[in-house]
């Protein structure tokens, strides 16, 4: 089976794809920090950020639908958190809901808090999705290593990414084996069987990890994974970073007015 989970579009070609992962990580992280630090009532500034993100998406040439569907994946979590805020926050009443037995009031302050959380989380997710969609996962990890993220963490994530697919295959084979001897009914028993499968998967991964470790030792592993450094800052990286900084300065200036 072939799985493409998160970096489906990362092998395409565009200006954004060709940039050094470090440039993208720093620029996108900087953008996110700017957005998060912007006061919630600066509606125009948020509009400008929106245009900036839209520009980046166009530059990246990824499919808009794919992009939006990926970014929307986290929305349920955000909504769960913010949906009740307008009703709970004390303040000036914006409008009332009177429907059957429901009598609630929504406050201005609550709406602002809600908008604040919503717009910031959505823009952050949009930016992170764009980063992942334009950078192969491996390159992101490589970039993070250079940005001094502890190697142990990087190695763990790298192994997870490598073996996630192997585990998915294994799960799928077990699932097929289970379904091919299941003839309907006995749902409660099936739940127990699935529990056993999860346990078995754990044991298998544990045993696999020992085999992997043996094969690492066989090729001289001594505690740290060495890699060839193939990242290069190019003129395009400098130009890209400069343009983004310039745009942010313009946004900053208009905000001060």
């Amino acid at each position: 089976m072939e799985y493409h989970l998160i970096d489906t579009y990362s092998k395409r070609d565009s200006l954004l794809h060709r940039l050094d992962p470090r440039t993208k990580i720093i620029v996108f992280l900087g953008l996110i920090i700017m957005i998060v630090l912007t006061p919630p009532k600066q509606f125009i500034t948020f509009g400008q950020y929106g245009l900036l993100i839209l520009g980046l998406v166009i530059l990246s040439r990824i499919q808009v639908w794919f992009y939006i569907s990926r970014a929307l994946l986290v929305m349920p979590f955000v909504l769960m958190i913010v949906i009740f805020v307008p009703f709970l926050k004390e303040g000036q009443t914006a409008f009332r809901i009177d429907f059957w037995f429901i009598h609630a009031q929504v406050t201005h302050e609550g709406l602002i808090v809600c908008w604040n959380a919503l717009v910031k989380s959505v823009s952050s997710v949009l930016l992170i999705t764009l980063l992942v969609a334009t950078t192969p996962f491996n390159d992101i990890l490589h970039g993070l290593t250079h940005l001094r993220i502890p190697r142990v963490l990087i190695t763990m994530v790298s192994f997870m990414y490598r073996y996630l697919f192997v585990l998915l295959d294994e799960t799928e084979r077990m699932q097929h084996a289970r379904l091919s001897r299941w003839f309907g009914g006995y749902i409660r028993r099936q739940i127990k069987v699935i529990g056993n499968m999860i346990g078995l998967l754990f044991i298998r991964s544990y045993e696999r990890s020992e085999r992997i470790y043996a094969s690492m030792l066989a090729r001289g592993f001594d505690g740290s994974i060495r890699r060839i450094d193939n990242l290069k800052f190019r003129a395009a990286d400098a130009v890209f970073a400069a343009v983004i900084v310039a745009l942010l300065t313009i946004i900053w200036e208009t905000y001060n007015l």
Binding site: E2, Y3, F137, N138, L141, S158, F159, Y161, R162, Y163, F165, V166, R208, R211, I212, A214, S215, M216, L217, A218, R219, G220, F221, D222, I225, R226, R227, I228, D229
Partner: protein, 232 residues
């Protein structure tokens, strides 16, 4: 080249996997190890590069005893191709996986790149350099696993079931590669046809003991021997 004396190995749970193995292999030999499931083939192989250590008995590789002091030199000499290439290809891309061992040897980066490119080219797999192993077929993964070992230029290469689960075409391909190697080869399998084609000498193992040791063509045609040891 390889000398094993009175090797006994007991797993921590008390299971006696190897029970007095005596074996010597000289340089350039290609030796098949055959035996039914659980006969002790894989356990024996894992002793050859010091992954497992004998409960009693000794092993030495070109007169270096296998112990903690020599372990780096031993692993440099003995390359091991594991049965499941997914266990062996743990780096995110093919070229990085091949580079893994070379970088552990402390070679400079340009030399690592050169060697990686050369070995991929030799296997006709240059196009796979940036591929991720989970997008490849078993046959391709097996070849890359072997390439990652060959590039380290070991004197001895140990194979555990090199052709298990391969389709006909990949198996033929892999057999040709095995035949073309110059290094000392130890190949464990229960695929008699493959063993007959790529080895000159065959050892039969059953319940942790060596039952027979002789020229490949004699052993593979000895039906009585093969039947009593669960190989036919």
């Amino acid at each position: 080249m390889i000398s094993i004396k009175e090797l006994v190995f007991k797993y921590p749970d008390g299971h006696l996997a190897l029970d007095g193995i005596n074996l010597s292999v000289s340089a350039g030999e290609s030796v098949g190890i055959i035996g039914s499931n659980g006969a002790g083939k894989s356990t024996l192989l894992l002793h050859l590069n010091g992954t497992l250590r004998p409960t009693t008995g000794t092993i030495s590789i070109s007169s270096l005893p296998v112990d903690d002091r020599n372990i780096r030199a031993i692993r440099r000499k003995v390359g091991m191709v594991f049965q499941d290439p997914d266990d062996q290809l743990f780096m995110p891309t093919v070229s990085e996986d091949i580079a893994f061992g070379l970088l552990n040897l402390g070679l400079p980066e340009n030399e690592v790149k050169e060697k990686t490119d050369a070995i991929l080219n030799r296997f006709g797999m240059s196009a796979y350099a940036d591929k991720m192993p989970h997008h490849m077929s078993l046959g391709e993964k097996k070849k890359i696993a072997l390439a990652g070992i060959l590039v380290l230029e070991p004197e001895i290469i140990v194979f555990d079931e090199p052709t298990a689960n391969l389709d006909l075409h990949s198996r033929k391909d892999f057999i040709e590669i095995l035949k073309g190697l110059k290094q000392t080869r130890i190949i464990a399998s229960h695929n008699l046809e493959m063993i007959a084609r790529v080895t000159q000498r065959v050892i039969v193992i059953n319940k942790g003991k060596i039952i027979a040791d002789g020229p490949a063509k004699d052993i593979v045609s000895d039906t009585a021997l093969l039947e009593t040891n669960g190989l036919m």
